[in-house]
């Protein structure tokens, strides 16, 4: 039996609607993923995963209603999953290599706090995490966040207040070391 022929990249096939969706929302999803994971390869994986899911299944109703908000939330959730997986793997490796006493890199202090923060954010409700990241990573105002996520400014302000309080509890020890 002949193998399935893969078209050359010179001639590419894509549903037009999908292509438009990708081009329109790529930057926000990629920036979100890159900001959270801090790695190009992870950011690419996140974007690829969320758009591949769209190619392989029926269009979710939330995507039709608010594509930007839906794709942003998907990028946040997928990125946080990667950060958590990485954190768990690092803990296992740290336990295994404890005896080796590998010296920490100079930049690891800031990166560690970054990782801890996102690990803590992953423990918040997905909506709260999305709001927090829009504010502190993308510098969105309450009004801009409300518009993107299809909610009110009041909800955003209250969620941000509660999320900050929860984060403080979760990373309290690390904050004590913050200069």
């Amino acid at each position: 039996m002949l193998a399935t022929r893969v078209p050359r990249m010179a001639d590419e096939f894509f549903p037009q609607e999908f292509d438009d969706l990708f081009q329109e929302h790529y930057v926000l999803t990629y920036r979100t993923a890159y900001g959270i994971t801090g790695r190009v390869e992870d950011a690419e994986d996140v974007v690829q995963t969320i758009f591949l899911r769209l190619l392989q299944r029926e269009k979710p109703p939330e995507l039709v209603k608010n594509p930007r908000g839906y794709l942003y939330r998907a990028a946040v959730n997928q990125s946080l999953t990667i950060v958590q997986t990485r954190q768990r793997r690092a803990q296992v490796e740290a336990g295994e290599e404890l005896a080796a006493s590998v010296p920490a890199r100079a930049s690891s202090r800031a990166e560690e706090l970054h990782r801890k923060l996102y690990d803590a954010i992953a423990q918040l409700r997905p909506k709260a995490a999305s709001i927090l990241i829009l504010r502190y990573l993308h510098n969105y105002s309450d009004a801009e966040i409300a518009k993107l996520l299809g909610t009110s400014r009041g909800v955003i302000a209250v969620t941000l207040f509660r999320s900050r309080a929860r984060l403080k509890k979760l990373i309290g020890a690390s904050l004590g070391e913050e200069p």
Binding site: M1, V6, Q48
Partner: protein
């Protein structure tokens, strides 16, 4: 704002945005890589009529080998029949290397090199210029080709009561059986007719365009000769010969000469263009000629100064 909250927020801004924003170059490079991977995954999972047709042919040979193979072949044939019913492709892409792929409605085809041919379900054939992008759609009475960018040469099959349409962002071309060239550029679109007749609609106005005539939606789009319009095609000479034949059928001596000249490889490019009534060629001093439908003959060269559309 309380100092405590201020400090905490400052820390959040600093550490959540630790890696900053990716550069434009990084964004573009990643975009390309992601799209490439998505396309590879999509192409690997998308239904492909031709691959299945070939598979059926191989299984048919296996039928002769034995009963087991025949059973498998029958099962595959059934699957193929079912899937072919599901997939309603509007055309088949024939690439320069001879490979073929079906093109379903609303799927974007990008051609990065010359030589990609598209055979439509109605028998029409399209040749794509390099870096062109189009998709096919079902129209009420035929097939619509949505040309997003680039150019194509359309050899439309005789339509049986229907139409073939070519749509650009600012123009609609409707045909029933003819050959023409369409270019979609950022500033506008241009249609040049080689054979037959097309109806071009731009906004609310509609006009008929005949062989040798050219219509563009933007004045900034330079008028181009037929030879220039089809020069990139692998079948340029055959198209120019068809153009000469079409011009000969008009019976107009000047147009016949122009058609023959366009088919001649030595013919000077950029010569066949529509007359501007306000700027007709001048009659040379102590000479003859000039005006509409005039040509200029110099040793080894024939140039059309301008051509007026034939009155129907």
């Amino acid at each position: 704002m309380k100092p405590d909250r201020e400090r905490f927020e400052k820390m959040l801004y600093r550490h959540l945005g630790l890696f900053g924003s990716p550069s434009a170059g990084q964004l573009d490079a990643s975009r390309g890589r992601i799209l490439e991977r998505l396309r590879a995954r999509y192409d690997a999972t998308a239904p492909n009529d031709d691959a299945r047709v070939i598979r059926v042919s191989r299984v048919a040979n296996a039928w002769r080998v034995g009963l087991v193979a025949a059973t498998i072949a029958a099962a595959i044939v059934l699957m193929v029949t079912a899937s072919r019913e599901r997939v309603d492709a509007l055309g088949t892409v024939e690439m320069a290397d001879g490979s073929r792929n079906s093109l379903r409605p609303n799927v974007v085809l990008r051609s990065s090199e010359v030589g990609t041919m598209l055979a439509l379900k109605d028998g029409s054939r399209l040749e794509l210029r390099a870096n062109s992008e189009l998709s096919l759609e079902r129209a009420v009475d035929g097939i619509a080709v949505r040309l997003r960018t680039g150019g194509l040469i359309v050899t439309a099959a005789k339509q049986h009561g229907g139409h073939l349409y070519v749509l650009t962002k600012d123009m609609t071309v409707a045909v029933v059986g003819t050959m023409f060239v369409v270019n979609a550029e950022s500033i506008g679109s241009r249609v040049t007719v080689i054979e037959g007749e097309v109806r071009v609609r731009e906004g609310t106005s509609e006009k008929s365009v005949r062989p040798g005539q050219q219509v563009s939606t933007a004045p900034a789009l330079a008028t181009r000769s037929v030879r220039e319009e089809v020069g990139w095609s692998r079948h340029a000479e055959a198209i120019l010969a068809a153009f000469a034949k079409g011009m000969a059928e008009t019976g107009d001596a000047a147009l016949v000469a122009l058609g023959q000249a366009a088919a001649d490889p030595e013919f000077e490019a950029a010569s066949i263009k529509q007359c501007d009534p306000d700027h007709l060629p001048q009659t040379p001093d102590r000479g003859r000629g000039g005006g509409a439908n005039s040509v200029q003959l110099t040793p080894g060269r024939l140039r059309a100064l301008c051509v007026t559309p034939r009155r129907s």
